[in-house]
């Protein structure tokens, strides 16, 4: 699905991303972890062609994301609140995103009805603009807009950070269901090791721009990761 080759990016002389090779297969659920400044978000942004890489390339379904824009049709991502159109109401935003995928309003409503639990009654029909929602609720809007697009590739940057425990559990079950269906490739970054090990089949650990561990999740993974991070203290 995604192939990264010799990808590098530096900011004022410091290498923030340096990945010689990485292959993510279709249907995998990837957890991306690492301390602040490890390069997770920068990697996300380069996969989404939001920032220019210094060298190397990202291939999505075999096509370079910089030259070919087809990846936009099957990729959905939520990185932070800055990517929401904050002066729209959540409904208006959902309809807009739906319209980009040729979904009628009825279609969008139907899809949103499956997310009622996830929204917990705090998003729809509140007569609020997105900018007036709390960070957690903005995150719900962003994630819902992604799911609405039924993407083949879903990328979420720290989705668990601002949401309440119930929503975290609901989001985890949504991600697990999606992984079970096998149609969706998911990349999730998080600082919460237990969330990541619970949801993801494969975990990439980044440190100073490099992927230093690439492990398949099993019973010992959480312990292994906790050890790594406690050494770092």
């Amino acid at each position: 699905m995604i192939e990264v080759q010799n990808l590098t990016k530096s900011y004022s002389g410091v290498r923030v991303v340096n990945i010689p090779a990485l292959v993510i297969n279709k249907g995998e659920t990837i957890g991306l972890i690492g301390n602040n400044g490890a390069g997770k978000t920068t990697l996300f942004r380069m996969i989404l062609d939001l920032i220019r890489s210094d060298g190397g390339e990202v291939l999505s379904k075999g096509a370079n994301v910089v030259q070919n824009e087809n990846w936009r049709d099957y990729t959905a991502a939520y990185l932070d609140e800055g990517f929401l159109i904050d002066y729209l109401t959540p409904e208006e935003y959902f309809y807009f995103v739906g319209s980009l995928h040729q979904l009628t309003r009825a279609h969008v409503d139907e899809k949103l009805s499956t997310l009622t639990e996830f929204f917990n009654g705090e998003i729809l029909n509140k007569r609020k603009y997105i900018r007036d929602l709390s960070k957690g609720n903005q995150c719900k809007v962003g994630v819902a807009a992604c799911l609405l697009q039924s993407p083949e590739l879903l990328m979420l940057d720290e989705p668990f950070a601002n949401i309440d425990p119930s929503t975290q559990i609901r989001l985890k079950s949504i991600l697990k269901d999606a992984a079970a269906s096998g149609n969706m490739t998911t990349i999730v970054s998080s600082h919460d090791l237990s969330h990541v090990t619970e949801v993801c089949q494969r975990i990439l650990l980044m440190e100073k721009g490099k992927i230093i561990k690439d492990i398949h999740t099993d019973a010992n993974t959480l312990k292994e990761l906790e050890e790594y991070f406690s050494v770092m203290q």
């Binding site: 824009e69 990729t75 800055g82 990517f83 159109i85 002066y87 807009f96 900018r131």
Partner: protein, 492 residues
């Protein structure tokens, strides 16, 4: 897609916190716009008369033609200063399934709705209809109109292109301003080239062969395309940002150390001013307003009257107090909660503001001393108003600041920026400018102008010497208002 974008643009305008919340601002804004449109229209209708008077014996159309390129040169400089780049608003669309081509077109199209694109037509259309159409016929009229459109669009996209280049590389700005300066010098000073002649030639040719207008349009299209290609290949988050991320130096101001905790607060505020776009442009504007006196003092009839120096003195020595102080404490709105919970004592907070105002008006006063050239009475008036501003105006500004609940985004430019403007700014100008004139009025009627100035200066001195009392008063007032202010600043 474009209609969707336009719909969003529309919503973003009407739902923005700055638009429309306060009816007073909207009314004033519309009155201003109507005022300018009216002036332009009157100017345009009377243009044949004006041109006839200024260039007697010359055909008005010929004089008009000679002017057009000057207008667009000036227009280019103005756009470069004032036109805002439509940038970050595209961020949400970058990760949605929308092609870059569409986003770039949206950026280009949405930028078109600026006053700069209407003014050439408001300014010329009545003249063209009144003079050119009956004299030269419909084809020539259309030709001129199309070429004006071409030049407008060319300037529009060219200035956007240059501004984007400047964002990536600051030297481009020097190069651009140098080129403009060189052209003006070559024309006005050294008479090597003549823009007037070029302008006449171009538009006379267009009147005789209207098809030439298409060539001008082609220029505009070319510029649009260059802009399009540039944007398309630079549509990246870190490059769209308006500021470059050069290595930031840390500034220390040893002079302020002697004032202790208060000095530290002032140093912080100085950094706030120097490191953010909007307060920085407010500061720049304050320097420009120092030249304000030239408008009044150079006129011989005002040279012996005292009104002008009092008004100008208030303005010049107090420009920073007025210009920066009117948005007090909004400058700190983004970290206002931090100030409230910090160890900063409110008394120190106000003492720091007073100290900053004192330093600023002292600098302005010293810089304004050359105006003495126009008469000693100006120096006296400025001295009186300098004392007045330090004593009284600073207090008035800070008092009004406790009524200001509006948040300000520091990173946006100051020109045409109505963010943070509320009723308190309009009310503020009345006591600031009217009170000194009112005090001076009886002395002027009794022909005791010098005594009037002394009284104004003395009042300022008294306020200065009793500053502790005023700080106490402000602190009390502030403690009552703090929740309301903090609440207002939290609302985006």
């Amino acid at each position: 897609m474009t209609t969707q974008f336009l719909d969003h643009q529309w919503k973003s305008f009407w739902r923005s916190k700055n638009t429309g919340k306060s009816i007073a601002i909207r009314v004033v804004l519309w009155l201003l716009i109507l005022y300018f449109v009216a002036i332009f229209l009157v100017l345009s209708f009377a243009m044949d008369k004006i041109l006839g008077k200024v260039f007697p014996g010359q055909d008005v159309i010929a004089s008009f033609n000679g002017f057009i390129l000057y207008y667009f040169l000036l227009d280019l400089v103005m756009r470069f200063q004032l036109q805002e780049l439509p940038t970050l608003s595209v961020q949400p669309y970058l990760i949605l399934p929308i092609r870059k081509k569409q986003i770039v077109n949206y950026l280009s199209l949405s930028s078109l709705s600026t006053t700069f694109n209407y003014s050439p037509f408001i300014l010329s259309l009545p003249f063209l209809l009144k003079v050119v159409l009956p004299q030269k016929g419909g084809l020539a009229f259309t030709g001129i109109l199309l070429s004006l459109l071409g030049l407008t669009l060319f300037n529009h996209f060219f200035s956007l292109y240059i501004k984007r280049k400047v964002n990536l590389n600051g030297w481009v700005m020097l190069l651009f301003l140098g080129a403009i300066g060189l052209v003006s010098y070559l024309d006005f000073k050294w008479h090597v080239i003549s823009i007037a002649a070029a302008s006449s030639w171009l538009f006379n040719s267009i009147i005789t062969a209207p098809a030439l207008a298409l060539a001008v349009l082609a220029f505009a299209v070319g510029c649009f395309y260059v802009n399009y290609l540039f944007l398309k290949s630079n549509l990246y988050l870190d490059e769209l940002r308006a500021s470059s991320s050069a290595v930031k130096s840390s500034t220390e101001i040893p002079f302020l150390d002697r004032f202790g905790a208060v000095g530290d607060l002032v140093a912080n505020e100085v950094k706030l001013i120097l490191r953010n776009k909007r307060p920085k442009s407010t500061l720049t504007m304050s320097f420009i307003f120092l030249l304000y006196g030239l408008i009044f003092y150079t006129k011989p009839q005002t040279s012996t009257i005292y009104w002008a120096p009092i008004f100008c003195g208030t303005f010049i020595t107090g420009i920073f107090i007025i210009n920066y102080g009117q948005f007090m404490f909004s400058w700190q709105s983004s970290h206002f909660d931090g100030i409230l919970v910090s160890k900063v004592r409110i008394r120190d907070f106000f003492a720091a503001k007073f100290l900053m105002f004192t330093i600023a008006s002292t600098v302005a006063y010293i810089l304004s001393t050359p105006y003495t050239y126009f008469g000693w009475h100006i120096l006296y008036a400025h001295t009186a108003m300098y004392l007045w501003n330090m004593g009284v105006s600073s207090f008035i500004v800070l008092w009004f600041a406790t009524y200001n609940y509006k948040k300000i985004n520091l990173s946006k430019g100051a020109s045409f920026n109505w963010e943070g403007v509320g009723a308190s700014q309009f009310l503020l100008s009345i006591p600031l400018f009217v009170t000194p004139l009112l005090i001076f009025l009886p002395f002027n009627l009794l022909h005791q102008q010098t005594l009037g100035l002394v009284v104004l200066g003395l009042i300022g001195m008294v306020f200065l010497l009793t500053r502790k009392t005023w700080i106490d008063l402000l602190t009390k007032r502030f403690n009552k208002q703090r929740y309301k202010i903090a609440e207002g600043f939290r609302n985006e």
